[in-house]
């Protein structure tokens, strides 16, 4: 009978600690949401490299919340500890309370807690930027530096969305973190949010990456609404070739200027440019390959699963998340509109030499936004090749969003 009672007691104990007893309905809703995101990543291939780890991190944390648990210290009577360990003493710190001596026994945190430190301490986003820099060809931007203006205009979404978020009741720091979704740059959004409003990291990261995946759906209607058929058909002049020396000097000059004027943008811009210098110098091929492949992939896994793991049911399922998702869409739309409208201005100023469609690529989202410009342009004129022209604003958008991030951190941080 005693054996039976102990058996039942053990089974009850296991059930009490199982997910069935400890999780609430919100965790199950999040499990369904993570399933939908996994479907979108695999079936629809929406940014699968990031969406898949994010969705699986979300799944894991809602099945087993302790995977994100911080390390703790528990107190145990020294006498109890010794009784349980055959009289052995331990090397833990001892505290005395009420004439009783206790061991302070450290408990390790969950796996994702440790991996998440790279996000919390702002380590992963600059490392991702290192890989992006090593993969990016800034040639089109150097050949046509005016593209910088389109990259600047497309940051309009960040600052207009900031206003919307403030008036919806978010604090200044939270509004800054929400606004940066308009930069269409995942690592920048995570970097800014981890510094300004870490409590919103889950919803903001999911919104930023979801909208980046939806760029081909969100942008074309705005681009078509703001341009005429004639403007969309403009064929742009071939870009001039860029010498190797120009390519090598570019990352050094940009790093020096941006870091001196806006030090808060230095970690992102500096690592972006370091990666690009690896690429363009041509003397560190192995490092360049590692930065754009192995390192980038490893950091992407860590970043994805831990960002996904911040989306627990209690945090994610709230009115704030819905507001963030709506504001994120507005941010993307305003950014696209800002770029296209400035493109129209440049078209007018250059007497029809600039196709305004390349302006939408200024929202970053490299290279998807540039491909959208190419695709929309070719719908009007199949002989039009805008991809290289759109890459200029596209990569300048990366620099522009990093600068905007530095501004937000500087003003609100």
């Amino acid at each position: 009978m005693v054996i039976w009672d102990e058996f039942i007691h053990s089974i009850e104990g296991i059930f009490r600690t199982s997910g069935f007893a400890t999780n609430d309905w919100r965790n199950y809703v999040m499990i369904v949401i993570s399933g939908i995101l996994i479907y979108l990543a695999i079936k629809k291939q929406f940014e699968p490299l990031l969406l898949l780890p994010i969705a699986f991190g979300m799944l894991l944390v809602n099945l087993y919340p302790a995977i994100m648990a911080a390390p703790q210290t528990t107190l145990q009577l020294v006498s109890d500890y010794q009784a349980a360990h055959g009289g052995a003493t331990a090397n833990y710190a001892i505290v005395t309370m009420g004439n009783q001596q206790y061991y302070q026994i450290p408990q390790v945190g969950g796996l994702f807690y440790y991996l998440y430190q790279g996000v919390k301490l702002g380590i992963y986003p600059p490392l991702i930027f290192l890989g992006i820099g090593a993969m990016t060809d800034f040639g089109p931007l150097i050949a046509n530096p005016k593209s910088f203006l389109l990259g600047a205009a497309a940051q309009l979404g960040i600052f207009t969305t900031f206003i919307g978020a403030v008036f919806l009741g978010f604090t200044g720091k939270q509004a800054g973190a929400i606004g940066i979704i308009g930069g269409a740059d995942g690592p920048t959004a995570i970097f800014v949010t981890s510094k300004l409003a870490p409590e919103l990291l889950g919803p903001i990261a999911v919104a930023a990456y979801s909208y980046m995946a939806l760029v081909p759906i969100i942008q074309p209607p705005i681009m078509k609404a703001l341009t005429t058929k004639k403007e969309r058909s403009i064929v742009m002049e071939q870009l001039r070739p860029v010498s190797k020396l120009e390519r090598i000097l570019f990352p050094i000059i940009v790093t020096v200027i941006v870091s001196l004027i806006l030090p808060d943008a230095c970690p992102l811009v500096g690592m972006l440019m370091l990666g690009n210098l690896f690429r363009e110098s041509g003397v560190v091929g192995r490092i360049s390959n590692t930065a754009q492949n192995e390192l980038m992939n490893i950091i992407t896994i860590f970043l994805g699963v831990t960002v996904g793991a911040t989306a627990t049911g209690s945090v994610f399922l709230s009115l704030k998340t819905i507001q963030i998702i709506i504001l994120g869409l507005l941010a993307f739309s305003f950014g696209t509109a800002g770029g296209v409208l400035f493109g129209k201005l440049m078209c007018w100023a250059s007497h029809g030499k600039v196709n305004p469609l390349i302006g939408s690529a200024g929202v970053s989202a490299v290279p998807m936004a540039a491909r959208v410009s190419q695709k929309v342009g070719q719908e009007e004129n199949p002989g039009n090749f805008l991809l290289m022209h759109a890459m200029g604003p596209n990569v300048s958008g990366v620099i522009g969003s990093a600068v905007a991030a530095g501004v937000l951190i500087s003003i609100l941080g």
Binding site: F159, T160, V166, T171, G172, I253, N381, V407
Partner: protein, 121 residues
Amino acid sequence: MSLDQKVQLSMIVLLTGLVIVFVMLIFLTYIIKGYSAVIKNIQPNAKTDPVPKSVPTVQRASAPVPSVEAGIPEETAAAIAAAVYAVYGSSAGKIKSIRRAAQPGRSLWRIAGLLENTRPF
């Protein structure tokens, strides 16, 4: 936050943000233009690929969008289009279709064996 504070904060961030981003990127535009001009003067014969000239024009759509064989991703089609344009410029005309080249009827192992046996030394 009161309404006044919200308006004040919004205006500060909007103006400061846009002004700094624009000033920074305009500054970079001129710096790049400047050093590019200096490099051109120093290295007038710098190694760069020749580019065919083209004249900016406004064209009417007259041909259909190139038909792309099923299974070829959009980015591959875009990269092919950009490569054609980079090499030929606007003289390339219009790409009518993109399809895979016919595969030889040999397996990879067979090709490897063939290469191994026909390589001189």
